[in-house]
Symmetry: C2
Subunit: 401 residues, 2 copies
Amino acid sequence: MTRPLRRPGLARWLADSNDVTQMFLAAGQIPDLINMAGGLPDPETWPVSDLSRLATRAITEHSGEALAYGPIEGLAGLRDAIAARFSAPGLCLGRENVLITTGGMQALDLIGKVLIDQGGLIAAQSPAYLGALDAWKPRSPTYRPMRVEAADFDPAAALRDAQFGYVVPNFSNPTGRLVGVEDRRAFVAAAEATGTWLVEDDPYGTLYYDGAPLPRMLTLSGRDEPVYDGPIIYLGTLSKELAPGFRIGWVIAAPDMIRALVSAKQGSDMCTSGLCQRIAQDAFATGLTERILPQVLGLYRSRRDALCAAMNRHLDGLFSWEIPTGGMFVWATALNPALDTDVLLREALAHKVCVTPSSVFDPEGRDRRSIRINFTLNAPDKLEEGARRLAQATRAALGAA
Amino acid sequence: MTRPLRRPGLARWLADSNDVTQMFLAAGQIPDLINMAGGLPDPETWPVSDLSRLATRAITEHSGEALAYGPIEGLAGLRDAIAARFSAPGLCLGRENVLITTGGMQALDLIGKVLIDQGGLIAAQSPAYLGALDAWKPRSPTYRPMRVEAADFDPAAALRDAQFGYVVPNFSNPTGRLVGVEDRRAFVAAAEATGTWLVEDDPYGTLYYDGAPLPRMLTLSGRDEPVYDGPIIYLGTLSKELAPGFRIGWVIAAPDMIRALVSAKQGSDMCTSGLCQRIAQDAFATGLTERILPQVLGLYRSRRDALCAAMNRHLDGLFSWEIPTGGMFVWATALNPALDTDVLLREALAHKVCVTPSSVFDPEGRDRRSIRINFTLNAPDKLEEGARRLAQATRAALGAA
């Protein structure tokens, strides 16, 4: 017996999809593929036996926190630990400034729920993190692109009348660029002047390979208040510092904004896993995240160097790029304007290498000149072979163009 | 230096709040409060040492699944285990029918994202689960209440032109009522006839204290297809079977619906914690959930009996209620129509007891005749004292009315 085919229509935002995602999914089935598309950490950096000890302790010694429904806003001890870690001279953070989220992605979803009605305006650094675009799609926003590195960029004009601005100042995804201190100050001043919220998304804030970390916009916006009440909505995550499988992220913001986000989180997943939160809390308390950081930085720095050297050997004359000083990605722009990087992706998969084309980082899908290449997941020999295959694929795509 | 007060407005749905939630939050601060408001399991039912072993094994032997980003739709092994568990004669479920969610609540959020544009119609069993109303609020739906137990209830008329129907057939939250087999069949037939999706939310499906479980609407809608493609969207959760702190839930539905939900989950939290998923998978594989069930049932059955006996002693003449044959709640309706149960909540808190007033289960907040009383969290002596305090509070509220 066949089923009736008429069913209620899906929500309108679902019609707005692209076939690049489908290509990525299909890529998972290609044997011997060198995947430089994702933003994945190397599993070798995970402190497995430490984590196993923390999990045992969480369940046996803190079962009331690990196994129960917890407060929507997160475990008090973990919120306190994050408040303490991000407090700085001039920036007093308390528990009421902190919300625990189910990974960094959930923070983006909650911000969309709280600040966007259909058509609401987001001023987003361009090109923009694909995951943020995904998170906000169900709210049907409009976008004002911010080209932060343009000589005539005016943050106040960019933020005016927007519901919020969205910036990844440390090694932006996808470009790997660092927003400089003066630009950060200008953003904070513009947020204060316009009254607009400014989302500082910072998944890569610990991954500085050269030079000292720049001050966060959150820190720059501190005004010595007893409890922070400024315009920055700061997003952090444990995924890059420890492991993604815990799905632990956090928001630091003014108490009013945290309360609104808590209302949204209540109907999203009620609370984040107590087990994962308790492991995160103890990882901070025992210094585990700091202890593994030097090894992580050493590994990823050497891989960045290996990728850039391989690109020099294979992609010189085809792309231009800057060497990123941190993060997980190199952003490469085709020298020949005839190259469509959506077409290149198809060729790359045929050559058993995967990178991310720029169209997915453009809310309108029009930017087809660049690619994002990840260097954290693969060993140097794979990065070398990946760059070689990418050069072949590029020549094939140009031949077909 | 003071901050500017003008900030962008919040999304409109946030204006639609009630002060009952505020009262619940404040209740957490009252010493010696007897809390019969929530739907919490008793921590004594958690198999702590088994869970600790499973967590250790997940991290040390399956770190690639436990600690990494996983597939959006969930770990293949866990999806297979759920497909196998819910398959039945006439109902063939495969991995493509299953999505893992971050608790049962996330499934509701995803369904709203996928099926509701502003004003979209939901036909919801009335009174309705508060969490579902919370989950759908950001999508601004409209509601058609379904009074399933009414003599003239017509499921096809109720489902017609709705985006989906929403039913909790096993011990509905809040009423504790069981939807009978014939009504289940009628719902399935109505969903087939109208083409409407029908959400079967089943958090309490294992908590039958008297008699054998009734067939699920999912099972009744099976047609011996090679892969299920029917109208039921079935929701399950580990929170009542094992522990809420893992935040593991699942959706079983036609592959097209699963794919749409996966698109929504991608932008919601990317994936559910691999650690928690792997623990769930091994809890099913080792029979842990089945092993602890008899003890859970014994404990909760005795508490249901204790609460109902205490209600007979203290609340007879004030409320009417039915003895639920499963689940976590007794639903009690005031005999005196002058009693406003929102007012009763305030009096109850003054008497150090907390229950849930019916207004929160009504999308329009108008039903103020009933209360939901939980019996799973508290020991019999607390249930007795809670019923006594509730009687005092009711008399006080009626005196004030």
